[in-house]
Amino acid sequence: MQVFLTQILNGLQLSMLVYLLAAGLTLIFGLMNILNLAHGAFFTLGAYCGVVVGSLTGSFWLALLVGPLLPFLVGVGLQSMVLQPLAERGRSTHLDLALLTFGLLFATAGAVEWLFGSAFLSIPTPVALSGHVNLLGISYPVYRLFIIGVGLAVAVGLTFVFDRTLLGATLRAGVDNRAMVTALGVNINALFAIVFGLGAALAGLAGVIAAPLTSVYSQMGITIVVETFVVVVVGGLGNLRGSFYASLIVGMTNAMSQAYLPEVEMFAIYALLIGVMIVRPQGLFRNVERVG
């Protein structure tokens, strides 16, 4: 029973980490129709930025604050200077731009390896979050609870922004009818760039908070991004709420298979994905709403 409880918490922690990536990927796809295969690159960039800031200042909290900034800037630049102009020149947003970001994913991994070498780096766990806490009869690391908290906070925050603010209303309108939003005087390109940047920043945030737990290496983004794709396809591409539930399903499947069926660990989530594809090719939550 205690092992099971630990596994549930581990599953929640994995879910929330992947959710931070899946939320950004979903926002970008829902609004701009761009499948950003380079989303993992922002995860790597955030983690390395965090490692550099952390080792220079010795402060985890500063790393957490500054880490997502670099992915944000790269994301805004990528959307406004590369993807948007190409889309305006008539490139298919679906496939051409997806393939371009595929190149970016590997270019980033290569560039990071060139700059930092292939050593495994890490950020030390902050003192305030180290140690264990007693919870329902088990001792559980505080830091993992912190990750669960961050994920839930982001989920609540995004839902609030989407449902209750002007920015959220503009975004929802932009998904429904881009031309109309432009006609109403909204600079849709600036909006796109900012949303792309925010999605990238969320991935960067995930990179920083994953750093004390797992090792930081040049190809870390490539590994996690495939898992994120499973989440967004299971949840229905472009469905923010669906991506939250799908993160939970995928994270739990991952944690449970690691604990109880280590032989199938490498492909449990893919089997899940294939099952979903057979029953509902459009994803489990596609018909609810597209974004929000």
Binding site: F29, L35, V82, L86, R91, H94, L95, D96, A98, L99, L100, F102, G103, L104, L105, F106, A107, T108, A109, G110, A111, E113, W114, I222, V226, F229, V230, V232, V233, L237, E263, M266, F267, Y270, A271, L273, I274, M277, I278, P281
Partner: protein
């Protein structure tokens, strides 16, 4: 009177178009013939290094041809074809070293097994389209990649070695000789490309083109669209498996890296470089890619970074491919 002028003008343009088409066909034949003569003569003309490169180009070209049947002919972009390359290699690896079967049984056995697996995988994948198709093919290949790393039977991440080359002693030839192996690969390449050309030009190929242009119209015309898509998926998979068999014979070795995401991406890159509209495009793309990779590996060890940058530049500026660019440069009359 203006009508007559128009008619006269149209007939000249038609005649010009016909002469142009004949010229194009003649030029293509001349090019193809000289390419084959050149390929036959290559081992006598150059150092063994060039022969090795040519083998790599042809194997990559077969792989890219398989991908192009999906990407170019049917309009389905797959990022998971590496799984079939790997399955081909693992198939004969298991057949020859684990089961101890001779090659003449292992090779057709592998191709049949790959075709059956591709039918199942294709039936699931082709339920989606566009980016979802791209993601699910990727997920399948990651699943096989993960299994290959874990599986004891195939030696996990170390891979299998000792995969035999064809025994050609009845012809008095030794398959381990690079020149003999070169001709073996050349024959397979010519057969594969010719078969691919026949498929694309056949009524089956026309239906695939119809699906690419408008799936709804094709299905409204009464074609069983999903069976055609699964059919294309199977042929593409078997072609990629052929490349995988040759690759593993060439290196006497197969490991999980051949199923990696990056390898599937390299195949798609070759297709884009070569252009999706012609059958020889993937071969040209493979040649450009293999030569560029060789050049890069001499200049730098940071292959992955340049692979990524190269990929981005090709997609951004060269989307229609080298063959298409050459065609318009050679035959566009001012």
């Amino acid at each position: 009177m203006s009508d007559e002028v128009t008619i006269a003008r149209t007939s000249t343009t038609t005649r010009e178009a016909i002469t142009l088409a004949t010229e194009v066909r003649r030029a293509t034949l001349v090019l193809a013939a000289s390419a084959i003569v050149g390929a036959l003569a290559l081992p006598w003309l150059s150092a063994s290094y060039a022969t090795t490169l040519a083998i790599e180009i042809m194997i990559a070209g077969i792989f890219a041809s398989g991908i192009n049947l999906l990407v170019g002919a049917t309009g389905l972009v797959s990022l998971g074809q590496g799984m079939f390359l790997g399955l081909g290699g693992y198939g004969i690896g298991i057949g020859t070293t684990v089961l101890g079967l001779p090659l003449w049984l292992s090779v057709p056995g592998t191709l049949v097994v790959v075709a059956i697996m591709a039918a199942g995988i294709g039936a699931v994948c082709t339920r989606t389209r566009g980016v979802e198709f791209l993601l699910i093919t990727l997920a399948f290949s990651q699943m096989f990649f993960g299994s290959a790393i874990k599986l004891r039977l195939t030696n996990g991440s170390d891979g299998m070695s000792g995969i035999p080359r064809p025994d050609l002693t009845f012809l008095g030839l030794n398959g381990d000789n690079p020149v003999v192996f070169y001709y073996y690969v050349l024959v397979v390449t010519v057969v594969a490309v010719a078969a691919m050309w026949r498929i694309v030009e056949s009524p089956f190929g026309s239906v695939l083109a119809a699906i690419r242009e408008s799936e709804r119209r094709a299905s409204a015309m009464g074609y069983a669209v999903s069976s055609y898509k699964v059919g294309a998926f199977i042929i593409a998979a078997v072609t990629c498996a052929v490349a995988g068999i040759l690759q593993s014979q060439y290196t006497y070795f197969i490991n999980p890296d051949s199923m990696s995401w990056q390898l599937s991406g390299e195949g798609v890159l070759m297709v884009i470089i070569g252009g999706t509209t012609t059958v020889v495009g993937p071969l040209v793309g493979a040649a450009v890619f293999v030569l560029a990779k060789q050049g890069l590996s001499i200049l730098t060890t940071e292959y992955m970074m340049f692979f990524g940058i190269f990929f981005m530049l090709v997609v951004a500026f060269f989307r229609n491919g080298v063959v298409e660019a050459l065609k318009s440069a050679l035959w566009s009359k001012p």
